[in-house]
């Protein structure tokens, strides 16, 4: 019995000590494994394909590069040609797309305008159109390889919006919910709900062939298990490593981290037109004091371990070209914040929270339900230094959160926004634009000047001009109105075995390319 106990303790001790030599191989040689062994297994947080009747199987949110849209977005979030080689604005509200020649679907059928028309009709039917205003008859066949697309409402940002996996072109007569048949460098092999999705190389691909023979997504909901699966060698990489774990992964031999370029932003939004009880943010000076009380640099360094960057716009800087520098930072001056609040008659109480005429400076903050708690507490602590109490009321899910925001019964909202397409005015138009009638979550009432600039950005076919107008609109939103307080732009972080080569993290994780990735010995 004593021997058994000793053995058990030994095993536990071995487990607790960790063994770096077992994990991967430090300084992996660059020589690629033979093609037969080129299988890459990535762990993702969970099987989201199963929801929404599998209409985006293999496309979103985990993109196995089975399907392709007409246009894509590159590392700089600018659109790049994929299945359409030329895009022409035809005037009015119509864009013409000329298709790439010689492209075939995985089932051997040729890519043609009819396939594009049917795919866009499917987007409308399955309600995947986002803010594109694609209707069932929006796409019209011009000839074998030319298609015209006219949204149901004016939308000259269409080319950037359709560079999203939702707008993938599907082989006619096939149902992606059963088996996605498209044109991408990988083709569907196997899907076991809640367990795995497997894709294999498509040898007839029109572009550069994939180096991997097989790409496997394994669904692991628990983030600690994902990390342990990587350390045990069962998977080659994991999605969404928490920033707090970056240092420890870097410290383990055989592993490496690969952050995406910042593609999402953390933004505080203020309620400019709240009803009684939620009307404090109607005062521009209070909004200004709130902005000045926050230190995004400290947030980026402490909470994001230096992987995030301070921003002055609500969109990631890369999508705006050279524009962001034109928007001034409105944060990080605690002394001035306190002076403003003192001048306005807000005096600190015994609990450190300011009050005036018996009313506490407490701001109801319905943060997004899955917003990282540590960052939330950090932001709360920063506001509290100035005597502002951010009273967080987290909603249990997205629907409840949307209802809360749309009811107007809130003062400040903290959220993060993803830039998943190349549209430079996407985030301002989605959230603050008064003429947007189909948004799930909407902060209204910035004013006519802002709306006019967003309208101009939406009405120009030129992306650079749209970016410039978007920056102008953000100057109103941020500098003039303080309706939005941008804090940081942050990456998503992949952790990989060191033996994985050719991987370049894309700023939009659901557009991650896998063609150049391979495994080395």
């Amino acid at each position: 019995m004593k021997l058994r106990i000793a053995l058990a303790l030994l095993v536990l001790a071995a487990g607790c000590s960790g063994d770096d030599s077992e994990v991967g191989s430090a300084g992996a040689p660059a020589e690629a494994l033979p093609f037969e062994q080129q299988t890459l297994t990535m762990a993702t947080p969970g099987d989201v394909f199963i929801t929404r009747n599998r209409v985006l199987l293999g496309m979103w949110p985990d993109n196995a590069n089975i399907c392709e849209p007409l246009l894509g977005i590159g590392q700089d979030l600018q659109t790049v040609p994929v299945l359409a080689t030329k895009t022409t604005f035809m005037g009015g509200n119509t864009f013409r797309f000329e298709l790439r020649r010689g492209v075939t679907f995985h089932n051997g059928a040729p890519l043609n305008a009819e396939a594009v028309r049917a795919s866009f009709a499917r987007v409308a039917e399955k309600q995947l159109a986002l803010t594109s205003f694609i209707g069932p008859d929006s796409a019209k066949v011009v000839d074998e390889l030319t298609v015209d697309v006219t949204p149901t409402q004016p939308n000259l940002r269409l080319p950037e919006i359709i560079a999203h996996p939702n707008f993938s072109i599907i082989a006619p007569g096939t149902d992606p919910a059963d088996k996605p048949v498209c044109t991408g460098p990988f083709q569907f092999a196997e899907y076991t709900p809640n367990d795995r999705f497997v894709a294999q190389r498509f040898d007839g691909y029109w572009g550069e062939k994939a180096k991997l023979r097989q790409l496997i997504f394994r669904f692991i909901p628990d983030q600690n298990t994902r990390r342990l699966a990587l350390e045990s060698g069962e998977v080659d990489g994991i999605y969404f490593l928490p920033p707090q774990q970056v240092a420890s992964v870097k410290g383990r031999s055989g592993l490496k981290v690969a952050p995406t370029p910042p593609g999402a932003t953390v933004v505080l939004s203020t309620n400019l037109h709240g009803p009684a009880g939620f009307d404090l943010m109607q005062d521009l000076d209070l909004r200004r004091a709130l902005a000045l009380s926050l230190d995004p640099k400290a947030l980026a360094e402490v909470q994001w371990q230096g992987t995030a960057q301070v921003i002055s716009t609500v969109s990631p800087p890369s999508v705006l070209g050279s524009g962001p520098a034109q928007v001034r930072t409105i944060t990080n001056d605690l002394a001035q914040a306190q002076t403003i609040l003192e001048d306005k008659g807000w005096k600190k109480g015994s609990d450190g929270i300011r009050e005036k005429d018996g009313r506490k400076l407490t701001l109801v903050t319905p943060a997004q339900f899955d917003f990282e708690p540590e960052s939330l507490q950090f932001i709360q602590a920063q506001a509290r230094r100035a005597g502002i109490d951010l009273k967080v009321e987290k909603a249990p899910d997205g629907a409840a959160y949307g209802q809360k925001i749309n009811s107007g019964q809130w003062d400040v909202d903290i959220n993060y926004w993803n830039q998943n397409d190349g549209n430079p005015v996407s985030i301002p138009a989605r959230l603050w634009y008064g003429k947007n009638t189909n948004a799930r979550i909407k902060y209204t009432g910035v004013g006519e000047k802002f709306d006019a600039l967003v309208s101009e950005a939406l009405a120009t076919p030129d992306t650079k001009e749209a970016a410039a107008k978007s920056v102008e609109a953000m100057k109103v939103l941020i500098e003039e109105q303080h309706a939005a307080i941008p804090l940081t732009s942050f990456p998503q972080i992949f952790a990989l075995k060191s033996s994985v080569a050719g991987f370049t993290a894309h700023p939009s994780v659901n557009q991650q390319p896998w063609t150049a990735v391979y495994r080395t010995k």
């Binding site: 106990i5 536990l12 487990g15 077992e22 929404r52 298990t225 409840a400 799930r440």
Partner: protein, 316 residues
């Protein structure tokens, strides 16, 4: 015996009725308008009022609550638990996909806890105050106290990351079953060790044990043939309760090991506020619990003849 069975069956039916009321009440009392949630999820944007009203009529939510309950119960009895809001498939299909995995895990954990827990409890009682007894008592106390997710990570770290002996996650092979089953079995095993020990110790003080010893029965024969047999009723009760818990889905264990069973389904259903799915899981778990307890109630009469005799006397 038949009347005993009928009485237990009547209690089971009453318990199932209670479960159905609670399950339906869960959906009815939940915050928010189900019709609005269904339409919003379908459109992926705030729904127009007319469509919400149309959906409310289609779901029967415009009827009085009692009528809604009777309609829901009628369908549930026929196996129709509605459709999952988010997945768009019948709830019964979603449950059917997950039950085999949970049943396999629960069966493995139950077997493990019985095969380990009962002999250890008997051993502990038979060697009272020995080193083995002390170790069993301390071990069972620890096993019952440590949270299952902590045990899960510890086992994964030891056997998967360091020793590379077992897979970290997933299902499909016997090797995948080992770590989740051991983790899940730890709590029930600890309870069984302690309960078996105390029950057998009590039996060991009885006259029939002394008589058996006086008649020359061996140590093991006395322990297992006389003491354990007479101590089985409380042990069976604990096994039944444990099995009910295991079938209800071990949420933490299934989440840690990415085991696609009812526990994992429960977590995603709650996250998505998918009430028909939550109702389905709760109803199924409640029914499993009640049925297992019914089976154990019935087995009492078989295990302990005194219960049969008492029932017969009561009837006279």
């Amino acid at each position: 015996m038949l009347s005993y069975l009928a009485e237990r069956a009547a209690w089971m039916a009453l318990a199932l009725f209670g479960v159905s009321v609670l399950t339906f009440g869960l959906g009815a009392l939940a915050p928010g308008d189900p019709a609005e949630v269904v339409v919003e999820r379908r459109l992926n944007q705030p729904p127009p009022r007319e469509q919400v009203e149309e959906e409310r009529r289609a779901l029967g939510l415009d009827r009085p609550i009692l009528q809604q309950y009777v309609r829901w119960l009628g369908r549930a009895v026929r196996g129709d638990l509605g459709r999952s809001w988010l997945r768009g498939i019948p709830v019964s299909d979603a449950l059917r996909q997950r039950v085999p995995q949970t049943a396999a895990l629960a069966a493995a954990a139950a077997c493990l806890s019985i095969l380990v827990g009962v002999p250890l409890g008997v051993l502990s009682a038979g060697r009272r105050s020995s080193l083995a007894d002390h170790l069993c008592r301390v071990g069972s106390l620890l096993g019952a106290s440590i949270p299952s997710y902590f045990v899960a990570y510890l086992l994964v770290f030891t056997f998967s990351v360091s020793l590379r002996a077992l897979p970290v996650f997933g299902f499909g092979t016997p090797a995948h079953l080992i770590l989740p089953a051991v983790t899940l079995a730890l709590g029930p095993t600890s309870t069984l060790v302690r309960l078996t020990r105390s029950s057998v110790l009590e039996a060991l003080g009885e006259d029939y044990v002394r008589t058996a010893r006086a008649m020359g029965r061996g140590r093991l024969g006395v322990l297992f043939g006389h003491a354990l047999r007479n101590a089985l009723v409380p042990i069976l009760t604990v096994i039944a309760l444990s099995l009910g818990h295991l079938l209800a889905g071990a949420i933490a264990v299934e989440t840690v090991f990415a085991w696609p069973g009812l526990g994992d389904l429960t977590v995603t259903a709650i996250k998505d506020r998918d009430y028909p799915l939550i109702q389905g899981v709760v109803l199924l778990s409640g029914a499993a619990y009640v049925l297992v307890n019914f089976a154990v109630d019935v087995s009492y009469g078989w295990v302990d003849p005194r219960i049969r005799v008492e029932k017969r006397r009561a009837r006279r």
